[in-house]
């Protein structure tokens, strides 16, 4: 959990993924499209990957990846990200966290 929090606070937009996860690919693409450059951490390439995945599940993220953090705060999984994007909240969050400028 600490590692998750630590990594999440290092950049305005942070996404935890797995290299084999294609939905993670979708969410990454969405962020790129919005002009954000999120930090991407692949759990299957991290030595603490298993613990991190467990921690993310503990936060309520199901499936555990993709897990999105903006401004250090946990936002949710793909379902949450899409819902927030549709009503414009995602963009606002990214702007507030200075991940994007417009």
């Amino acid at each position: 959990m600490d590692r998750v929090r630590d990594l999440a606070s290092k950049k305005a937009a942070v996404i935890f993924t797995k290299s084999s996860c294609c939905m993670c690919h979708s969410i990454k693409q969405l962020f790129y499209e919005l002009g954000a450059s999120p930090a991407v951490h692949e759990l299957d390439k991290d030595s603490y990957g298993r613990e991190m995945e467990w921690a993310l599940r503990g936060l309520g993220c199901n499936p555990s990846v993709p897990a999105v953090f903006i401004g250090g705060k946990f936002v949710g999984s793909s379902k949450d990200v899409i819902s927030l994007h549709v009503d414009g909240t995602l963009k606002q969050m990214l702007m507030d966290a200075k991940a994007i400028w417009f």
Binding site: M23, Q29, I82, S83, D87
Partner: protein, 433 residues
């Protein structure tokens, strides 16, 4: 009688012309041609080309008969002009000589005022048909009934066609399942010979997936019926200018019903994701626009923007942003799907899938199959997010619009898909040689 025959060959327009020549002399004329004629007749009429009588003055007793005859014809004519249901068509024959009087734009025809003539000319110019005014609405209502009947017939055909297709699809599924079963049994035999334990619960999954597809088709048909009912209720409320409160109630029902289909699709995606992705539960024309097992929200919004006017500046911005957001999300999901396809084909094409002699190769094969199975499992997630996007877009649209606009939007969406379904019906029923 010579007089009579002369009357018969009498040409009213000639009469008009000669009369017209004298109308500058202080005869007040109103729009009524009969009155005008009567007024004029009290003046001196020069003989001219008229065969009415040889004397300068008005009708002798002999000519009175002819005059009465003319009066009668002109009063009939006046009646026709006064009634608004007919436009008199000019024609060459004697029967319609009155017509040529009335529609004649000649400036010499001063028997009626200029305004009258203009009005009649406009009617003449406007359309050379007799169907004006009252007769129009009855044609339109007949068209409406015809349209209703046609629509009903099309819907019936569509429903019948759909159930035939479903039956066909089910039978085809059964056949292909049987083939697959035989193949799998053979593979199992081979694998068992090599000492690998494989559980035999596969046949259960097969029959379940068949049931999953059929069950969803049935549920979807039921859902459509209920939606039709709700939309009709909404349409009636809109047309009868119901209050916002009443509209909101119906709209909430419609949106809740949409939630229901997304829930049903979620369950069906677990049972048979490929059935949903194939779009076989939709009609052919709808399948044309299939994206991740359903419609594209961004396309729907594009259609609606024009129909929702007038929109406030804020609303326009909101709808445009919504369209852009849904487009971006669609693109993101599409790219994820492409990545999945690529990953899947890489998995299946890697390694040596040659001889099934050594157990090592078989283990490889099984490993790759397991990985491929995992990837296929993520398809359900994509359909789920695509439906999530559709659901969120509908709800956000409702938030941006006023109650009345939301009602119109929901009606427009339903009508659009209705037409696609009707189109499918027509397409399937088209004559083929």
């Amino acid at each position: 009688m010579p007089e009579a025959s002369r009357v018969d060959s009498f040409c009213l327009s000639d009469f008009d012309q000669s009369v017209g020549n004298h109308l500058e002399n202080a005869v007040e004329l109103n729009g009524n041609p009969v009155n005008n004629l009567l007024k004029v007749s009290s003046q001196t009429i020069s003989p001219g080309p008229v065969h009415l009588g040889t004397s300068d003055r008005l009708p002798t007793s002999v000519d009175k008969g002819q005059f009465t005859y003319l009066e009668d014809r002109l009063s009939l004519l006046a009646q026709k002009v006064r009634s608004t249901n007919q436009v008199i068509i000019p024609s060459g024959d004697t029967e319609n000589q009155e017509g040529s009087v009335m529609a004649d734009g000649s400036p010499r025809t001063d028997i009626s005022t200029d305004a009258d003539t203009d009005e009649k000319n406009q009617r003449f110019d406007g359309g050379q048909s007799l169907a004006v005014g009252g007769s129009d609405s009855s044609d339109r209502s007949k068209d409406k009934t015809d349209q209703k009947t046609l629509r009903r017939l099309a819907q019936n055909r569509e429903a019948a066609r759909k159930s035939r297709l479903r039956k066909k699809a089910y039978v085809q599924q059964l056949e292909s399942s049987r083939l697959k079963l035989t193949q799998l049994e053979q593979e199992l035999q081979r694998a068992r010979q090599q000492g690998i334990f494989i559980s035999s619960s596969g046949d259960q999954a097969h029959s379940m997936s068949g049931n999953g597809a059929m069950a969803f088709d049935v549920e979807y048909a039921r859902w459509l019926e209920e939606q039709n009912r709700q939309i009709n209720e909404l349409r009636a409320a809109v047309n009868s200018h119901a209050s916002d409160t009443e509209l909101r109630m119906i709209i909430d029902g419609v949106l809740a019903h949409y939630d229901e289909i997304f829930r049903l699709k979620g369950t069906a995606a677990k049972a048979d994701v490929f059935h949903l992705l194939s779009g076989m539960w939709k009609t052919p024309a709808e399948r044309c626009f299939l994206w991740l097992g359903g419609f594209r929200s961004s396309e729907l919004l594009k259609l609606l923007v024009n129909q929702l006017e007038p929109l406030t500046e804020q609303q326009l911005v909101g709808i445009t942003n919504l369209q852009q957001s849904s487009q971006q999300a669609e693109d993101a999901l599409s790219q994820g799907m492409e990545a999945l396809q690529q990953s899947l084909s890489e998995t299946l094409s890697s390694g040596s899938l040659g001889s099934s002699g050594s157990s090592g190769n078989v283990a490889n094969y099984m490993g790759q199959m397991a990985m491929a199975m995992g990837k296929l499992g993520t398809l359900e997630g994509f359909i789920r997010q695509a439906d999530n996007l559709r659901q969120q877009t509908l709800q956000q649209m409702h938030r941006i619009l006023t109650t009345r606009q939301s009602a119109r939007a929901l009606l427009a969406i339903h009508d659009y898909f209705s037409r696609l379904r009707a189109l499918s019906s027509l397409w399937l029923a088209r004559p083929r040689d």
